[in-house]
Amino acid sequence: MLIQLAGSFAAVAVLVAVAAWAKIAKPMSPLSDARARALLADEFPGKTLDGLWIATDGRGALARSGASALVLCEVGDGYAARHIPWAQALSASFRDGVLRLDLADVAAPRARLAFDAWPPAGAR
């Protein structure tokens, strides 16, 4: 039993090492405006964007759609998205160029987006 478990651990370690060696994750590049819009359209079909702000490091974006803030953030070689009330996004903590958003979801508790300033000009 224990030998089997140890063997399984070793096999997992080998496979993870092989996966890391291969470097075959999806290619990621900083988000462009168009790419962010395409991703948000997939995540929130039918929502029109009243404003879109791309994180300075290109690893996320925040959009306003009516009373909602649509949050997009990088996770590995993919993205996760959530929406929260716009007012909450406006009043979220912003320090040292990082906006910290509480997404109120066990599966995605927080998002951190890099911005030069928050709220951005014209976002109020």
Binding site: L5, S8, F9, A11, V12, V14, L15, V16, V18, A19, A20, W21, A22, K23, I24, A25, K26, D42, P45, G46, C73, V75, G76, D77, G78, Y79, A80, A81, R82, L103, D105, V106, A107, A108, P109, A111
Partner: protein, 309 residues
């Protein structure tokens, strides 16, 4: 043959094959011979789920096994493990049971909570196949196989056939194979059919629940072919935003607990537990049905853009 204890476990026997196949898929993708993407932390999460699933099975498997044996002892018929017809029968009946187990696991939140982890990767590769549940025993879905024991199929036979089904479903978790021969696609679950099952595109949601035979989906109206114009995007409707394995294993259970704590009536308790995933009292959250409806409305708008003009 001992009707209680299987002389071999198909899954254990297949583990070396699983490992070699994953290495082969990665190597072929590395040298650009096939399509496959592996993200290191995602791979680690998937494999750790597989490992943990076996450990969890040791803990919760005892009760399931005891229940199966008890039901089989009160069986309606004697089914010999050595008869060919019995194996043919269990092949079809087990696969039919799997279909309904899998459909329940997607359409009702309590069981989705146990199954969601298999779908929480944004990747679709052979390692995703091993991303197995830790909480299936708790969700008690094993009870769905009890009628087969009552019919008289020995517990060992059930265990072997369930193992065969799991091993079969390993190889279909790949983007390396585009399509199998037409006759094969018509009858069996394939990489193409199961890619659709793992996709979060609205039009692909809640389809292709098959284990080995895709014919059940065709029979019960849940079949959706993979379309060239709609590339699957993998994962769940609301993707996880980190690779924490405890979050992978338990996030939907935690979500249920949070919702139940805020429930204001028995109706809400039942809805949060046994409604469709995404059910909410005021309908403010998305379910597969609302997402599909939104998507269809968008399509209709796109197809008839000049009505107002």
């Amino acid at each position: 043959m001992d009707p209680l204890h299987a002389p071999f476990d198909p899954v254990t026997l297949a583990i070396p094959f699983f490992v070699l196949a994953i290495i082969l898929e990665i190597a072929l993708a590395r040298f650009k011979a096939v399509k496959a993407h592996y993200e290191t932390r995602d791979t680690m999460a998937s494999l750790a789920m597989g490992l943990g699933s076996n450990v969890a099975g040791l803990i919760t498997g005892g009760l399931a096994f005891a229940a199966t044996v008890w039901v089989w002892k009160h069986r309606a018929f004697d089914i010999p493990m050595t008869a060919v017809w019995a194996w043919v029968a269990i092949f079809f009946l087990e696969d039919l049971t799997y279909y309904w187990f899998h459909r329940l696991s997607h359409e009702r939140r309590f069981w989705w909570a146990a199954h969601v982890n298999h779908h929480s990767s944004q990747h679709y590769n052979l390692s995703t196949a091993l991303r197995q549940t830790w909480t299936g025993g708790v969700a008690a879905t094993w009870a769905l196989w009890l009628p087969l024991a009552f019919l008289g199929f020995p517990p060992a036979m059930l265990a072997i056939q369930k193992g065969i089904s799991l091993v079969y479903q390993f190889w279909i978790h790949t983007e390396a194979i585009r399509r199998m021969p037409r006759w094969f696609e018509a009858v069996f679950n394939t990489p193409s059919h199961h890619r659709v099952h793992h996709a979060r595109n609205p039009r692909y949601l809640d389809s292709n629940y098959a284990g080995i035979l895709i014919v059940w989906d065709k029979l019960f109206g849940t079949f959706q072919p993979e379309l060239d114009e709609e590339t699957p995007r993998y994962g769940i409707v609301k993707n996880l935003n980190n690779f924490n394995i405890l979050r992978v294993a338990f996030h939907e259970w935690a979500g249920i607990a949070k919702d139940l704590a805020g429930a204001r009536s028995p109706r809400e308790v039942v809805g949060y537990l046994f409604g469709a995933p995404g059910w909410s009292p005021d309908g403010s959250r998305d379910t597969s049905a609302t997402l599909k409806a939104q998507w269809e409305a968008e399509q209709a708008k796109r197809d008839a853009p000049d009505v107002a003009a």
